[in-house]
């Protein structure tokens, strides 16, 4: 964030000396001097309002996860009288949050590596080599970005089933990779095109094979691009809901998002709302924490595609 924005952080407040007429939208210019202040209050007010609207629901969830069931229903906004840490342990063990976490880590770990390896291989070839059908294959990949995935999911369910991959984690990994390829190939093809050709050519003259050039020279050079697209895919796959809902219906194999939704349905009968909120917060916190730590990279990764 800081890198994209050179001059937007004014230092200490300076006495206001506005002499120009600059009005807020829809507010005719009155006294120029108080105007700047009015606008400033106005814009700050709205910015704070939206910040509150973003943070408040999240804080409410955190607070609720420490309360007992009765006070959740009787006074939703009251602070917890005692911290019910047992909600968290109950969610972790009894509500199977630990299994959901493990499944998600396995699936996302496998598919993230697979996506980056396969995506960069395809993108490199498409970006750097001329051969008949290059454009066709490129657009075949790109087309996948704008097609509604649900249309393919109906037959895909049976394709995956026939291959014996339904309700398996490795089956889910393969599907995640396949559906992450369009954006990954799109992004990395553009990225490989920006890298200089000369280094690879020099290595080729020295007798290195294409494969070796790719793994030992091009991939290290493409690291910034791989990090961006890796973060993009990590969040997309970690937060994925539609694919596992369709292709992964075995209760033991559920990933985090599915597991929480199922938990919400079943807690309706068991009445353990506090445990459910603990589960929700448990699922939110690691991602939010990672975002705050790697904030610049995350923002770059997620906005990179849209800025092209």
């Amino acid at each position: 964030m800081k890198t994209t924005e050179p001059t937007t952080e004014p230092p200490a407040p300076v006495p206001v000396t506005v002499t120009k007429t600059d009005g807020t939208p829809g507010r005719p210019a009155a006294a120029p001097k108080s105007e700047g202040r009015v606008l400033n209050v106005f814009s700050h007010g709205l910015l704070v309002l939206w910040a509150v609207m973003v943070v408040l629901p999240l804080l409410w969830a955190v607070m609720t996860s420490f309360k007992d069931d009765r006070s959740i229903f009787s006074s939703p906004w009251a602070l917890p009288r005692t911290l019910h840490l047992d909600n968290w342990s109950r969610a972790w063990t009894e509500a199977n949050m630990s299994d959901y976490f493990l499944n998600t880590v396995l699936v996302v770990g496998g598919s993230l590596i697979g996506t980056l390896v396969l995506g960069s291989m395809a993108a490199y070839v498409l970006a750097r080599f001329d051969f008949p059908g290059n454009r066709f294959i490129y657009y075949l990949f790109i087309g996948g970005m704008s097609f509604p995935v649900m249309l393919a999911l109906v037959p895909l369910f049976y394709v995956v089933n026939n291959m014996g991959l339904l309700n398996t984690l490795h089956g889910l990994i393969l599907v995640y990779i396949a559906y992450s390829l369009p954006f990954t190939v799109f992004f990395l093809t553009a990225f490989f095109r920006t890298l200089p050709v000369s280094v690879a050519e020099a290595a080729f003259v020295d007798g290195a094979s294409h494969t070796r050039i790719f793994f030992q020279i091009m991939l290290p050079m493409a690291k910034p691009g791989l990090i961006s697209v890796g973060i993009f895919n990590f969040l997309g796959q970690w937060n994925q809901y539609m694919l596992p809902t369709v292709l992964n219906t075995d209760p033991d194999k559920r990933v985090l998002t599915q597991g929480l939704v199922q938990l919400a349905v079943s807690q309706g009968y068991k009445g353990d709302w506090s445990g459910l909120f603990a589960g929700l917060v448990m699922a939110m916190l690691p991602v939010l924490a990672a975002y705050i730590v790697f904030q610049r990279q995350v923002v770059q990764g997620l906005t990179a595609g849209a800025l092209k």
């Binding site: 924005e5 973003v54 393969l174 937060n239």
Partner: protein
């Protein structure tokens, strides 16, 4: 760089392309074929029925409802989200008070803080956000109604998701809430790259802030706005609306089908009602809507590209 070129190209493309073809391309083609059959999905036998499914679809009231709701999602969610995001990012980047000798426009204090906070929902799974808001909307014990009671509006206690006239708007609001931050960050990056002398020139010509926004900022950001619109519209037609509607509304699909969307209807027909062929027919309609939407936005929004 000719030596072993084709062997290398084939070797590198085979795996990604094969996986993509098997799990993405092939199901898409199958889907379109199945829409002309009476396949149930439960048994392998089926026969072709020509346009039978399409005729049935045109008489299906629920299909028309889902189409209408999907169109609302694709138009209103981007409209509100992008409008709000443009407003907020303009406030962040140009809402600061002007100082003598300072730049023509300046950001508000704490601009990077706002951007960090606004981005929070973007890293969370839409499934988790949907669950959180399903509780917040709860008429008796939810955060929203209890907040209204707390500020003395005890008489205003809508049923939110339980009210057929309100449910769809509640669901859309959640999508807006979760995507505004992404666009604020995206537009802020774009605004930061607009040269300050353009603003100075506009101010010298006597432009107020509204003029500056509509005559300078918006035209220069237009490409980003447009691609953002397409990106968000495709999401709102597909995976995102599936998650929010399926998780938040009763049924799912809302009271009296008041929130059902095409992508959810495909899912229900295929995996709940055992009508896979009919589901793919609706899926094909969704494909047509998606492509038409993208084409219309790109075409309506076409302008001369401004260089700066």
């Amino acid at each position: 760089m000719q030596h072993g070129k084709y062997r290398f190209i084939v070797g590198f493309l085979a795996l990604p392309l094969g996986l993509y073809a098997l799990f993405v391309i092939w199901p898409f083609i199958q889907s379109i074929y199945y829409s002309f059959t009476d396949w149930t999905g439960l048994s392998p036998e089926f026969k072709t029925v020509g346009l039978g499914n399409y005729r049935r679809m045109l008489d299906d009231q629920i299909f028309w409802k889902s189409l209408w709701h999907s169109l609302l999602f694709a138009l209103l969610v981007p409209l509100v989200t992008i409008g709000l995001a443009l407003f907020l990012s303009f406030m962040i980047n140009a809402g600061g008070r002007r100082r003598k000798g300072g730049p023509a426009v300046s950001g508000v204090r704490g601009s990077s803080f706002y951007k960090i906070v606004y981005f929070f929902p973007q890293v969370l799974s839409i499934a988790i956000v949907a669950l959180l808001f399903a509780f917040a909307y709860n008429p008796d014990s939810g955060a929203i109604n209890s907040f209204l009671r707390g500020i003395g509006l005890g008489g205003v206690q809508p049923l939110w998701l339980g009210d057929p006239d309100l449910a769809l708007w509640c669901v859309m609001a959640v999508l807006v809430w979760s995507t505004v931050g992404f666009f604020v960050v995206l537009f802020s990056a774009g605004m930061a790259s607009i040269p300050a002398d353009l603003y100075e020139a506009a101010l010298l010509d006597g432009a107020d802030r509204a003029d500056t926004f509509f005559r300078v900022t918006l035209p220069l950001l237009w490409d980003t706005v447009q691609s953002g619109w397409v990106y968000l519209g495709i999401l709102a037609l597909g995976a995102e609306s599936f998650a929010v509607v399926q998780i938040m509304t009763t049924g799912p699909g809302g009271p009296d089908y008041s929130t059902t969307v095409m992508v959810l209807y495909v899912y229900q027909k295929a995996f709940r009602d055992g009508q896979a062929a009919y589901a793919t027919t609706i899926g094909v309609a969704l494909l047509v809507v998606t492509l038409a939407f993208a084409a219309v936005v790109m075409r309506l929004g076409r302008r001369e590209r401004l260089e700066y």
